[in-house]
């Protein structure tokens, strides 16, 4: 299966005021997105999920910098392109959806014009054609009365409609890859389900790939084919979605699964992973998860485990994957 995007050894760092040393936010991430598939990128806040995607798009903030690695997209290394060349790819061949649909639309421009702008920019359509196409895509993403919504300002639409507009905007140029950065976090669950279904339908129709960045394992189970779990700037586990939910191997992933609320006997406490994410400037030596891991041994604290295949393309960065049973017990879906 060909990969639409292949990230290899990505390292990204950030400078902050008054500190000479740059903080490494993403440390050697390898990630491949197969054509037509949905890849989930999971992890808690600050583990480098968004930085990974923004690096690829060349959209890091001013104090951020890609230190090493490559991101092959159709044979071209995106990290080496100039801003001008990247602009032709952004929105056109790779597009993004953001978390907060209120703030990711410009409040003083009508939603229709914002979508039409993307069209006119990349396909050189005239105003009339762009408007017609925009109304068409609005209809497709399930916006009722698309002609009237075209002239609406973002504040006149509900959260779900706004996210539909964002999806419409990102889909209107038929991109090869859609990067969705927590697209449903700001929505309630019923709207979330609608939006996920919409994305899946659109994917089926257009054959695009999706990189779904989320910390919601429910979303992952719902829509993803392949899952990458990130922790402290590194990929710790990669697996097929069924394999992951059936028998996740890394203690961190197992902890995440165990901390999902589920139907358990009354009075049983919800599991939580002790401790907090390590400081970017003071990473533990050896395995980065070792200070919080219940199964950590002396070796884990000194030596860094490689991302090893534990069978059937299931990768895990642990010396003893699936070791012990611990308090989280046999975690499965």
């Amino acid at each position: 299966m060909p990969n639409i995007l292949e990230i290899k050894g990505l390292v990204a760092s950030f400078a902050s005021d008054g500190v000479r040393e740059r903080a490494i936010a993403v440390n050697g991430v390898d990630l491949a997105i197969p054509a037509g598939k949905t890849v989930g990128l999971v992890g808690e806040s600050g583990c480098g999920k968004s930085v990974t995607s923004l690096s690829v798009m060349g959209l890091l903030a001013d104090n951020g910098r890609v230190e090493a690695g490559e991101a092959l997209f159709g044979g071209v290394d995106l990290l080496k392109l100039s801003d001008r060349e990247l602009r032709k790819i952004r929105g056109n061949r790779i597009s993004m959806i953001f978390q907060e649909p209120m703030t990711s639309l410009n409040p003083v421009i009508t939603v229709g014009k914002q979508v039409a702008e993307a069209l006119r920019l990349h396909s050189g359509m005239d105003r009339q054609a762009a408007k017609a196409r925009t109304i068409e895509i609005f209809e497709k993403v399930g916006i009722p009365e698309p002609e009237r919504r075209y002239a609406c300002y973002p504040h006149q639409l509900s959260g779900g409609l706004r996210q539909r507009v964002m999806i419409g905007m990102s889909m209107v140029l038929k991109p090869d890859l859609l990067i969705a950065d927590e697209p449903t976090t700001a929505l309630d669950v019923s709207i979330e389900a609608q939006i996920l279904r919409l994305m899946r339908d659109l994917q089926r129709e257009s054959g695009m790939s999706i990189l779904m960045i989320t910390h919601n394992l429910g979303v992952v189970a719902e829509i993803c084919d392949l899952v990458y779990v990130m922790y402290a700037g590194e990929v710790v586990e990669r697996a097929d979605v069924n394999a992951l939910f059936a028998h996740c191997a890394h203690p961190y992933t197992r902890g995440l699964m165990a901390s999902l609320p589920r139907m358990t006997p009354k009075g049983q406490r919800l599991y939580n992973i002790r401790g907090t994410v390590p400081n970017l400037r003071a990473m533990p030596s050896g395995c980065r998860f070792s200070p919080r891991c219940e199964f950590a041994t002396e070796r884990c604290r000194v030596e860094k485990p490689p991302l090893a295949d534990i069978g059937g393309g299931h990768l895990c960065r642990c010396f003893a994957p699936e070791s012990g049973e611990g308090p989280m017990g046999g975690v499965s879906r």
Binding site: N106, I109, H122
Partner: protein
């Protein structure tokens, strides 16, 4: 009976919800219209400005005398039915001069404000969006302009370039742009961190387009307020400068009239009262309007 009430009540509610759906939010312009209904001072300001503008436009029909026609038979005549505001030391009709003076004063109000608005906006956008060196250079120059006493700066410009009305526009633009640039820069700094700017970038929109099509429209409400408050400022500066004798001696502005009349202030108070009141009314009208606009627009700027 009770049920009937409940029915009509729910009907009313659903009607309101339906209307809210159609007209979900007022928007800035509706809020400005509402402001005029409540804020009588702003409405008065608007009416006065319209009247003054009409006066300037139809000056020849309003004034019965040529503002520059000398009448040496009736010099420094007191107000009378023939000369409503009296005549000056050369026998020129003061009413006609005040009416024609509105042309000069409005021009002095609008043109430098417009120039400094455009200049300040472009420089402020550049400083805010580009940051780094551009920000440093533009804002340090703005600091120098703002730190310098405005009147002194404008007078220096007038002395160096010469006393005519074009140089007056330049001088007033130089002292006014820095304030606008500061406001626009501050707003750009906060706007460029907004997610919609990132979203626009992720759609491949160029920097120039982001600045002018995405950030600038978000600054517009503030710019309208700044503009309305710059106008009376410019009129005041010009009056002060004409009074001090560095204005254009050929442009019969209200400030110049006060300056020329000050020698006769005790004997012929109408010489300074008429143009002085004209300045007062115009400046107050613009200030009332500007304050009202600011109140109406402020809540939109907070979100």
């Amino acid at each position: 009976m009770k049920k009937r009430f409940k029915d009509t009540y729910t009907a009313e509610l659903s009607r309101q919800i339906l209307e809210a759906e159609i007209q979900p939010d007022q928007g800035v312009f509706r809020s400005i219209l509402n402001m005029f209904k409540v804020n009588r001072a702003a409405l008065l300001g608007l009416v006065l400005i319209v009247l003054i503008a009409l006066m300037a436009a139809f000056a020849p029909m309003i004034a019965r005398y040529d503002p520059n026609a000398l009448d040496l038979t009736s010099m420094r005549a007191a107000p009378s039915p023939a000369h409503w505001f009296g005549t000056d030391d050369l026998g020129r009709d003061v009413f006609a001069r005040v009416v024609y003076g509105s042309r000069i004063s409005l021009m002095i109000g609008f043109i430098p404000s417009l120039i400094s608005l455009v200049l300040g906006t472009v420089l402020g956008l550049m400083a805010g969006y580009l940051g780094k060196v551009a920000d440093g250079i533009i804002m340090r120059v703005a600091d120098v302009v703002l730190a310098f006493p405005s009147l002194l700066l404008a007078m220096v410009v007038m002395y160096t370039l010469g006393s005519n009305i074009l140089n007056m526009f330049i001088a007033l633009s130089i002292i006014n742009w820095a304030g606008t640039a500061r406001v626009v820069r501050a707003q750009t700094l906060s706007l460029k961190e907004k997610e919609f700017v990132e979203a626009a970038r992720s759609m491949g929109v160029s920097r120039a387009r982001i600045v002018f099509r995405h950030i600038l429209p978000n600054c517009l409400p503030n710019l309208i307020v700044l503009f309305t408050l710059d106008i009376p400022g410019s009129i005041m500066w010009e009056s002060s400068m004409s009074f001090l004798g560095v204005g254009d001696p050929n442009a019969a502005s209200w400030g110049l009239m006060v300056s020329q009349g000050k020698g006769y202030a005790y004997m012929c108070p109408w010489l300074i009262l008429a143009p002085g009141l004209a300045i007062l009314v115009t400046v107050m009208a613009f200030n009332f309007l500007g304050d009202g606009l600011r109140d109406a627009i402020d809540p939109y700027m907070k979100t």
